[in-house]
Subunit: 244 residues, 3 copies
Amino acid sequence: MKGAILTVCPEATLVDISHEIPAHDVAAGALTLEAACDSFPPATVFLAVVDPGVGSERRPIALAAGRFLFVGPDNGLFTFLLDAQPLARVRLIANPILRRPRVSPVFQGRDIFGPAAGHLARELALDEVGPVVPDPVRLALPAKTCGADGCLGVVVRADRFGNLVTNLLEKDLDSLAAGGRQGFEIVAGGLTLPLVRAYSDVPIGSLCALIGSSSRLEIAIRQGRADGLPQLATGVAVSVHRAG
Amino acid sequence: MKGAILTVCPEATLVDISHEIPAHDVAAGALTLEAACDSFPPATVFLAVVDPGVGSERRPIALAAGRFLFVGPDNGLFTFLLDAQPLARVRLIANPILRRPRVSPVFQGRDIFGPAAGHLARELALDEVGPVVPDPVRLALPAKTCGADGCLGVVVRADRFGNLVTNLLEKDLDSLAAGGRQGFEIVAGGLTLPLVRAYSDVPIGSLCALIGSSSRLEIAIRQGRADGLPQLATGVAVSVHRAG
Amino acid sequence: MKGAILTVCPEATLVDISHEIPAHDVAAGALTLEAACDSFPPATVFLAVVDPGVGSERRPIALAAGRFLFVGPDNGLFTFLLDAQPLARVRLIANPILRRPRVSPVFQGRDIFGPAAGHLARELALDEVGPVVPDPVRLALPAKTCGADGCLGVVVRADRFGNLVTNLLEKDLDSLAAGGRQGFEIVAGGLTLPLVRAYSDVPIGSLCALIGSSSRLEIAIRQGRADGLPQLATGVAVSVHRAG
C-alpha cells in the first residue's frame, strides 16, 4: 500500500498511526483514527483500511471532514469524524485514474485506496474523485445519556496499554454540574472508581477513571492493565455520578 | 540500520515492509519481499535482512532485478526475484567505501547492508559494488506440478491474518483449462474448499481458497484464522482440480 | 506524537527505533536508545517517551549529548547517554512556545515532547528551551567490577530475539589481560559459556556469549531464545574469567 502511494506521490511523508488494530475490528480502527487525527497538520490525508468486506459490494470512499481528507472503505471507519463534522463531504472513488490497472478483489488498500490517497495528497480536488455518497455507513454505537447529575455510557475498547476506553467524551462530562468534575465518581462492573486528572493521582496498581489521550473517559490501573479484570469487559455500563 | 542508511543518504524515504517476519525465517522473508516489491516505484532499493548466518561465511550481496535493486545476505532471501528475473545481475558487496569503519560480526544490517543500500539509493552503479556473484544461493523449494487438469503444490507459510500461502502462483493456475477457474476446487489436508474470487464469496467463518494479495493461491477462513487448523500446517499438499 | 512533530517541522524525517519496549520499562528504553543512537547522522533529535510518571511532578527535559539532541521525561531514560557524555547539557522544557495550547496530563508525548523535538529539529537553540537542569535523574544501575583477571556484571534485559543483554560493555572487556579475549569464558546461572565472536561460531541451538549489536556482552542461543532458560533471568550475575 505504501509503495502504491509513493508511486503516485513520491514526495509524500508517510506516518503509521498504529500497527495494533485487531484484524477486522472496524470500531477499534474508528476510535484510533478519531484519537490520532487532531494532532496532524492541516490537509493531511488519512488512509484507513480495516476492511472485512473487501471484495464485496461495500463502497470505496474519500471524504473531506474538517481540515483533513480521509480515504477508505465505507463500513463505518469514519463514523466519529462524520458525527463531529456535519459538513463533511463524501465521494465514491470511481474515477478510473485513481486505481491501479489491475484491482485485486482482496487488496484494495494497494489497488484503490493507496493510489487515491496519493492523488489527493497531490492536491487532486475531492470533486474529481467520483459522485457524492449521500448516506455513508455509520457504526451502530451504544447509547449514552448525559445531564447535569451524571452520565451513563459503556466500555467500547481496550487500548494497547490495557486501558478501557468508553463512549463518553470529555465534552459529555462538561455537561456535569457547573462545579466541575470534583466530587464525581465512576461505577462500572460493580466497582467504584475515583475520577482523577492523571494516572499518578492514584497509587501504582490502583484503579481510576480519567480523560485519556483520546479525549474520552477511560478506566485504567496505574502501571497495570485494567483489561485483565473480568468485571470490566467491552460493553459493561459505566456510570458517572456525584460521590457519596 | 535506518540510521546507517540516512547517514549515507539523508534524502531517502524509508518504508518498513513488515515487522512480522519470524526470527531467522528466510523463506517467510523471501515470500514477503516477493509480495511487496511490485507495488513500489521504479529504482526502489529493497534492503532485506533475515540473516541467521550473520558473522559466518555467507556473502553480502546486491542485485539488480527487473526495475529494482536489492541488498542483503546471500542466503536465499532473493530466490523468487531471481526466479522471476533471469537477467538479474548479482554482485558481492566488497567495495570498502560501502561499509562502516567497524563491522560488527552480529549486525551487518547496520554496518554493511544499510550503508550499501544508501549508496545505491544515491545512484552508485551496481558494478561499483564488487565482483560478480555467479551462483547466488536459492532456497530449496517444495515441488509443484501444473497442467490443464489441475495443479499440485504445498502450503508454505501462514501470513499475519492466519491465511495459508501456497507455492502455487496465479500464473500457475492460468495453465488450467481454457474455460477458466470456474468449476475447480481445492483439496488440502483432507478438506475440500471452493476456489473463489474474494473472501466475501463465502459466509463468515467458512474456509475457501483464492488468489491472495501476493498473487499466490491462499487458503483462508473468512474473518477467521486458517492457521489454527491442525490439518493445514505448513508443508501440507494442496491439490487444485476439476470439481465433482 | 508524530503529527505534533510534523505540525512544527513538516520537513522532518521520522524513524521509529522500536515498537517493542514493554510498557513502563524505562530501563529497556534507556538500553534501546543507547544501542541505536550511534548509527544516526549528527544533529539527529531523539524523542524518547517511556513515561510511567506522566502527569506527576517529573520534569520534561531536552539535552545535548555528544553530536545528538534528546527530548523526553526526566526519569532515567537518558542515563547511559549522560554517563557516556559528561559534558551533556540538560534543560527543562519550560518555554511556552514549545507546547501545544492544551497539555493533557496523560499524553505529554504529543503535547510537550513532540512539539519540543520539532522545534529542536528546526534548529531552535537548546538554551532557548528553558533553565538548566543540574541534576537529571539517573537509573540506579546494578554494580559491575572489571579488572585484568575478569569482569563481574548482571543480566539487565532480554531483547526481542531472546538474547540476554548484560551491563558489561565491550570496553569493560577491553580491560581484560592484554592478550585479548581469547581464553576467557562466561559463567552465569550455573552455566559455563564460550566467549565467541559471532553466533555462527557455535552450533545451532547452543549457548554462547558475545559482544552484541549494542556493544554489550550478551548471552544467546544460536537461532534460539536464551530468555527461555529459568537460570538466566534478568538480575542473574555474569562472570567473565580466564577459562580452565
